[in-house]
Symmetry: C2
Subunit: 198 residues, 2 copies
């Protein structure tokens, strides 16, 4: 792919902004503060992002691209069905260590949950997409005969989301070294239950 210098700069600024937002919060990022961080002029950054609100949206879109590249795409190489669901989960466990301040979606969720704005819309879509991806993997596991036919895949996806999301919190706030092991044990129980005919 041909990348112009402008696109290249834009991508590296967004990468720095994403790391910063994971630590300071999405709402804490200003074009001025980011300009200092990346050693560019404020007017130069305005030319790229036009407003703080647009910058927030672009940071989240960069985060989604990163999440897809680090979590979703590699997991799609796993065998269809249960193995792929497990691969998605395992990749997700590793995601919290990709950015210096942890999961940007968790950070932004707390900041934006009651603030209507364009960034909130992007965030909500991203989380619904992720839950749908988990539900889709479970649906394929039914087709492949790994999971029972009457499994409620929406409920299962919700529970996987909670195990991952809550586990991330236990790992980061409580620094519990068993957090990943507990998350895997919880998923294992869920998957065993999904296999069992009811």
């Amino acid at each position: 792919m041909f990348v112009t210098k402008g696109e290249d700069t834009r991508a590296s600024v967004l990468s720095a902004a994403l790391s910063l937002a994971s630590e300071e919060g999405l709402l804490g990022i200003t074009i001025g503060g980011l300009a200092d961080k990346v050693g560019m002029s404020k007017s130069g950054l305005f030319a790229h992002f036009s407003s703080k609100e647009n910058l927030q949206v672009e940071i989240l879109k960069a985060a989604i691209d990163r999440f897809v590249a680090q979590v979703v795409t590699p997991a799609l190489k796993a065998k269809r069905g249960e193995p792929r669901l497990l691969a998605l989960f395992e990749r997700w466990l590793a995601w919290k260590d990709v950015l210096p301040g942890g999961c940007i979606f968790a950070v932004a969720s707390v900041e934006l949950d009651d603030k209507p704005c364009a960034a909130r819309d992007v965030l909500v879509e991203s989380q619904k997409d992720w839950i749908d991806t988990l539900a889709g993997a479970a649906r394929i596991a039914i087709e492949e005969g790994h999971f029972r036919k009457n499994l409620d895949v929406e409920q299962l996806a919700h529970e996987v989301y909670c195990i991952g999301y809550g586990g991330l919190q236990v790992a980061r706030l409580l620094r519990d070294p068993k957090a990943n092991a507990r998350a895997r044990a919880a998923l294992d129980r869920l998957v065993r239950d999904a296999r069992r005919p009811h």
Copy 2:
């Protein structure tokens, strides 16, 4: 209980600060901003709280008192064992609607997870205490013969925490009207599994 005017003022300022922190974040609260909100002088608030850092700690302590009063104490009236665990969970589901900005512990968790400070220590203790309370209820459920003897109560408490914590996120960010029903279904599956002999 005899309450002096000073204690009364302090309690009502903390109550306002707690509501504000749930919406704006704990780190967003300043003594100046809070003074405007409650119509007191900045110097008057300094006399009560001495520093921003101490104010953050006092807000969290007020939140813990509120949590104990709204969630833990009423649930202790439920029958020992499984009914009490279910009552703790049900009260916790309602907790997210007590403050205008949702669960202050969830908000503060994301803000403080990688910021060492006195408020972080108080927050970590509070979350460990809550997980221990859930584990304790499960332990009593074993004694009462409701749950199987070889149940891993620490793992169960971790999973209940994730169901509640993740469900709170789904309710507040995704505005999923099924969030509470999904959380209850997840807990129900967990409890049925705790009963079954392995």
